[in-house]
């Protein structure tokens, strides 16, 4: 199954949660956003990040749809 097919079935957003081994919050933020971009997500942001000791715990989000968009999962029903 190709990525595009999977993303079409996402209701609104993809959250990726992970731990980056990094020196500070800024590096963690850059890594998270770069990762989302690799997944083909464009409308991205960091929902939560906390750096402590060895790295950063991150909750990063890519929106597939915002309100008012046309939702591919809805089109898929017909």
């Amino acid at each position: 199954m190709i990525m595009e097919t999977c993303l079409k079935k996402v209701m609104d957003a993809v959250d990726i949660e992970t731990f980056f081994v990094c020196k500070d919050e800024e590096e963690g933020r850059e890594l998270a956003l770069a990762l989302l971009e690799k997944f083909g997500l464009k409308d991205t942001d960091i929902v939560f990040i906390e750096h402590s000791g060895p790295g950063a715990r991150v909750r990063a989000r890519g929106y597939l749809y915002r309100a008012g968009d046309q939702y591919a999962w809805l089109e898929g029903e017909n």
């Binding site: 957003a13 915002r66 008012g68």
Partner: protein, 604 residues
């Protein structure tokens, strides 16, 4: 397999066999003869027992760990080598076991966490399981049932009575354009197509703001708004039909004591709201609350059509409300808010006609923190109450002015004043104290030790005053939650457990991304908090959370503060006049009487 053959249950595990013991009991209760081997048997011993006893099925259990997959796979190879594999059904169960894994390892079935005995018995009997879904069959609950609104605190009743009587007498000959529009909307909805209906529509437009008139007269859409296309509507219908057919609803409550749980929707798009509502229903939400955008409330007049909006809050139109209502499960409570703004009577009227179960009517918050003129909102609120009574809709009365900095006692005095007016009109109000980390306590430090006492004190205060339903919100835990998924979910769960322990009737909960301001709430984040809340109900069951003695001190302070506020309010002509004067919250405390609709109250 029939019951003349035995079932062998064997933990291929050094220690764990609880799951098998549960299944063993269920099989016996269903008339099967079983052999339950103890833990730590070698595969060869298990196979020998199966052959010696000529069993019809072998149920293996194993907790997964490093190298375990190989062990389980080898067991199947060994069963094949001794000629057992083709004769008997072999299944594996345990933590970490999934159907796919079981198939991959060569088993006939796999049973993971959450398996019920019927699934295993059905496997043995070569049939589809008949699952008992009674836990998921929900019925709509009236959270006001059993409350008589009798006052235990007679002094407060006496004060409220006098304020309510003066206010109702003052409002008796007053009206507003909102009330007139509501009646015109009724005609627009009820009348058949024709000149009379057109006339009602024309009058409605004349009583609306310029941007609303532009919509009706020139088709000009407000910014970031568009009508949904016919194809989108057709797709939605199909989506709702398909989703309804596959709905299986969880039940959050562990005991009857656990409160009814509401979530709030208002993504901006009725379609996304519907999608979120279906997620919420599936994961156990008992009710959903419609959030509209503030510009929608502040304009005189409503738009029409199925409209989507790119920003927070879903536009109230008759068609949007109908679409959302049609998508909900029969057991889902649906609330449409009418607690601030210039269209509150029309909101309640449309909510009632669209089949809403509840609404939200307010004066103090809408006036002091919601930007609406106190006199306008009071007159409109009284009309809202008439509609609420007509459509038999209970409504909550919020105290969100606490978030502006108004002390709880004053906010409660405002809530009780509105509620008492409603009671006198024969309505069924629900008290909605905030269950949050409010600015007042940030300053006073009353939540420095814990989040329990202040919230408990609020409920205890209200319970000592009146026998009325209580629905803390909204959402519970507000301002304690961060963007961290675990922290916010846990905070919701803890506040939910506390609310349940205090015996309230309902709660409204946030999603796990409610504190995130960079974008809309995402569907999965709703599941986080619903799941966490369910776990907290499971954890506490009928057990309670015990506040410290400080809660009694806080409760007493709140009750005295309410009396003090009401005594001061009584010195003024009416409720709205006291609101203007800052009795229910002053500008120094962050309460500013709203200007929306100022000067628009007229004598009939």
């Amino acid at each position: 397999m029939n019951k003349d053959k035995k079932v062998l249950l064997a933990p291929l595990d050094p220690v764990h066999d609880i799951g098998l013991k549960i299944m063993n009991r269920a099989l016996k209760e269903n008339g099967y003869e079983t052999i339950l081997l103890p833990p730590d048997y070698q595969p060869e011993e298990i196979l020998k027992s199966a052959l010696d006893n000529e069993v019809g099925a072998v149920l293996i259990s194993r907790t997964l760990g490093y190298g375990v997959a190989e062990l389980l796979s080898k067991f199947i190879d060994q069963a094949e080598a001794v000629g057992l594999r083709e004769k008997v059904k072999i299944a594996i169960g345990g933590m970490g076991i999934r159907v796919e894994l079981a198939q991959e390892l060569g088993y006939d079935a796999g049973f993971g966490p959450g398996t019920v005995p019927e699934q295993v018995i059905a496997f043995i009997e070569d049939r589809e399981p008949v699952l008992d879904l009674s836990g998921a069959i929900k019925s709509k609950k009236d959270i006001t049932q059993g409350f008589d609104y009798k006052y235990a605190n007679k002094r407060i009743e006496e004060l409220l009575d006098q304020i309510a009587e003066k206010t109702l007498a003052w409002a008796a000959d007053k009206t507003t354009s909102a009330i007139q529009r509501a009646e015109l909307r009724r005609q627009m909805l009820d009348l058949p197509e024709g000149a009379e209906k057109e006339e009602a529509r024309k009058q409605y437009v004349q009583l609306s703001d310029e941007k609303i008139r532009n919509f009706y007269e020139n088709g000009t859409m407000p910014p970031y708004t568009r009508p949904l296309a016919p194809q989108e509507m057709a797709d939605l219908e199909k989506y709702v039909e398909t989703t309804k057919a596959q709905m299986r609803m969880k039940k959050l409550q562990k005991t009857d004591k656990n409160p009814t749980v509401f979530i709030q929707y208002g993504t901006g798009c009725p379609f996304m709201d519907i999608a979120h509502a279906k997620v919420g229903e599936s994961w156990g939400a008992d009710g959903v609350v419609h959030f509209d955008p503030s510009w929608n409330a502040r304009a005189e007049g409503f738009l029409e059509g199925v409209l989507t909006h790119e920003q927070d809050g879903t536009i109230i139109t008759w068609e949007n409300l109908k679409k959302i209502k049609e998508s909900l499960e029969p057991s889902t409570l649906w609330q449409v808010r009418a607690h601030r703004g210039l269209n509150t009577p029309e909101t309640v009227l449309m909510a009632g006609k669209a089949g809403a179960d509840m609404t939200k009517i307010n004066v103090a918050y809408g006036s002091l923190g919601g930007g609406t003129d106190p006199a306008r909102l009071t007159v409109d609120a009284i009309q809202c109450m008439k509609y609420a009574k007509e459509f038999d809709m209970p409504f909550d009365v919020v105290t969100n002015e606490e978030l502006c900095g108004v002390p709880a006692a004053k906010a409660f005095a405002g809530m009780l004043t509105t509620a008492h007016i409603a009671i006198k009109m024969g309505c069924r109000p629900v008290l909605q104290p905030l269950f949050v980390y409010s600015p007042e306590v940030m300053i006073t430090g009353e939540m420095e030790d814990n989040y329990v006492d202040f919230n408990a004190g609020k409920i205890m205060a209200l319970r000592s005053i009146i026998n009325a339903p209580i629905w803390p919100g909204a959402p519970i835990g507000f301002l304690t939650q961060t963007e961290d998924r675990v922290q916010s979910s846990l905070s919701t769960a803890m506040h939910g457990a506390l609310a349940s322990s205090l015996g309230v009737e309902a709660i409204s909960i946030a999603s796990s991304d409610e504190a995130y301001s960079g974008g809309p709430i995402a569907g999965p984040s709703r599941i986080d908090t619903l799941t966490a809340l369910k776990e907290s109900f499971r954890f506490f069951g009928s057990a309670s959370i015990k506040p410290t003695e400080q809660a009694d001190v806080i409760a007493e302070k709140i009750v005295n503060g309410i009396i003090d506020t009401l005594e001061k309010a009584l010195e003024y002509e009416t409720f709205p006049v006291a609101l203007y004067a800052g009795v229910y919250g002053s500008t120094a405390e962050g309460a500013y009487p709203g200007r929306g609709g100022k000067g628009s109250v007229v004598t009939k």
